[in-house]
């Protein structure tokens, strides 16, 4: 019998280190599934996020102690919550603080004891509200982005401090400090445990989405290191995005973000070769793109568009980027890509969030679109206009795009000069090598 069959509940009384490990992994799995709801419930009851997190961790420690011999209880989330509540009561009793919080929790515990063991001990609707409050608390603007990310991954994602540290390639102690400081900051600022008011909601949700997307790009861009956790980090961000989209089903940008992440992640299997070298889009084997994710992402994008339309607003920044990713995802080749649609999406992005990088990407899309609106000359004109932008002065992107366009127009000498300039500016050794090779191929 394998331990996937549920047999672990039946014969959990047997001991041994293998069983201990199995139990520990089972506890970890339960924690991942339940921790957000547990911390959320406790935060509502204690009105203290930091305390709630500590209590939940203590309950987890108790589970690790007990479950290897007693087996995983039938309703593990309720077990953990009950233990944490009891700990809260013990703490207050010790400090002789029989205030209304104690009364609230004690009443709650008592009510649970009267329920059948199999019945859900809590109201799922209220729990979902609590989890949403938890997400907004973890991403509160009084916290730095790093703190928001660390708290979200640990409290909402159920990752351990070690896992968060590994994902971001920082020491565990750094993450610990960030979390401790974040909790203190939240307490000091007296941050209420609530979903923001309507007039504030959009801005706060944008912050929450940005945290999830940051986690995703950290896993996706893999700027340093080659830890196994990093593609998993992108997957974790996708899961968090889906959780969030389920919590706010009417928010087009939450759907848009899910779509963007799924459509981007669909290309992961083709992004690097066997030795880990990055493969550019035009050279990727499209057969290796993940079709399930593409289908999922497109469904989310369709929902995002429908919601935006119902609201009478245009697509948001995530949905627009997802639209671009969708164009790539459904195209059989670079040449057969719907480039005019991509240009239109970049037009929208440039209106919503104008930036020289968006303008440059738009220029690349223009160069791929059919003439006369598109083509290399049309794109070169746009790129030349960007040449004066000081924000791009230190980046290799502008000369490398310009080099590409000049090469396509047969202006080899100018192209070579641009590639060489780009190589000088490139930060990454691998990129520099590619650019120098391009320069060399233009003759000298």
């Amino acid at each position: 019998m394998t331990d996937v069959t549920g047999a672990r509940r039946a014969d959990a009384s047997s001991s041994g280190s293998t069983d201990d490990q199995a139990a520990r992994r089972a506890v970890a799995a339960v924690w991942r599934i339940e921790s957000a709801r547990i911390v959320a419930t406790l935060t509502r009851l204690t009105r203290d996020f930091g305390l709630a997190e500590d209590l939940a961790q203590e309950a987890l420690a108790e589970a690790l102690e007990q479950w290897p011999s007693t087996g995983v209880p039938r309703n593990p989330g309720a077990w953990l919550t009950a233990v944490a509540k009891r700990r809260a009561i013990d703490g207050w009793r010790r400090r002789e603080r029989y205030d209304e919080r104690l009364a609230a929790i004690a009443h709650d515990l008592e009510a649970e004891q009267h329920q059948a063991t199999d019945a859900p001990p809590w109201d799922p609707d209220r729990i979902d509200d609590d989890v949403l409050r938890l997400v907004f608390t973890a991403c509160h603007p009084v916290l730095s982005r790093e703190a928001q990310v660390a708290l979200t991954l640990r409290v909402v994602g159920g990752l351990t401090t070690d896992e968060v540290a590994r994902a971001f390639l920082v020491p565990t102690s750094t993450v610990q400090q960030r979390i401790v400081r974040a909790k203190k900051t939240l307490a000091a600022a007296d941050v209420p445990f609530e979903v923001p008011e309507r007039d504030e909601f959009a801005a706060r949700l944008a912050g929450v989405l940005a945290v999830v997307y940051l986690v995703f790009t950290e896993g996706h861009a893999a700027t340093s290191g080659d830890e196994w956790m990093r593609p998993d980090l992108a997957r974790e961000a996708m899961r968090l995005g889906r959780v969030l989209a389920a919590l706010v089903p009417d928010e087009p940008e939450a759907q848009g973000l899910v779509a963007l992440m799924e459509l981007t992640a669909a290309r992961f299997p083709a992004r690097t070769d066997a030795s880990g070298q990055p493969i550019p889009l035009d050279a990727q084997d499209r057969a290796r793109w993940d079709r399930t994710l593409i289908a999922h992402g497109r469904a989310a994008l369709a929902r995002a568009s429908a919601l935006a339309e119902r609201r009478g607003t245009g697509r948001g920044a995530y949905a627009l980027q997802a639209t671009i990713a969708e164009c790539h995802a459904v195209a059989p080749s670079v040449d057969a890509t719907d480039w005019p649609r991509i240009v239109a999406a970049y037009d929208g992005l440039a209106r919503l969030a104008p930036s020289p990088v968006v303008a440059l990407n738009r220029a690349v899309a223009v160069s791929m679109a059919p003439e006369p609106e598109g083509g290399a000359s049309a794109a070169l004109a746009i790129v030349d206009d960007l040449a004066g932008d000081r924000r791009l002065a230190a980046s290799h992107l502008l000369p490398s795009v310009r080099g590409e366009l000049l090469a396509r127009l047969g202006r080899d000498d100018e192209a070579r000069a641009e590639f060489e300039r780009a190589a000088q500016l490139a930060q990454n050794a691998r990129e520099r090598a590619v650019l120098l090779a391009k320069a060399a191929s233009r003759g000298s």
Binding site: G6, I33, R239, R291
Partner: protein, 143 residues
């Protein structure tokens, strides 16, 4: 993260027990379970299968495959449907599986779903299959 398929199976006791439960109740329990997995962001796909009386069996024991109508006489366990979830560990898959609203006579077989990394990508048949998947996706996109 890996994908796992939760394969629903039931023996005769399970099938009969299932028939006793009001349809509404089944729908609600399953709906609740599905919703939990959706809310946790782990559900990728899932389908149920219609009544076994609409099914048939192709038996490969003889020289020629033999199609037998309806009766599942020789089959003691019925495949009733599946879920595909994406989770961080085998244990997480087991935890979700053990939360399924199923009773005596029901079994969930849990299997990891192979991804591209499980196959040699230079194999011509693997490439052909991927090509087919791509075509399907394009067709779906156009339709």
């Amino acid at each position: 993260m890996s994908k796992y398929m939760l394969i629903m199976r039931a023996d005769e006791t399970g099938v009969r027990a299932y028939e006793q439960i009001p349809f509404e109740q089944v729908i609600e329990a399953m709906g609740r379970y599905n919703e939990q997995m959706m809310n946790a962001g782990v559900l990728i796909a899932g389908e149920g299968l219609s009544d076994a009386s609409e099914g048939f069996v192709v038996d490969f024991s003889g020289e020629e495959p033999l199609v037998t109508d309806g009766p599942y006489g020789e089959i003691r366990e019925l495949f009733n449907g599946f879920w595909i979830i994406e989770v961080a560990s085998k244990e997480e898959a087991a935890e979700w599986a053990s939360r399924a609203p199923l009773g005596p006579g029901a079994y969930l077989e849990v299997r990891r779903v192979n991804g591209p990394e499980d196959f040699p990508q230079d194999n011509e048949w693997i490439q052909k299959e991927e090509g087919w998947r791509e075509e399907q996706a394009e067709r779906a996109a156009k339709g």
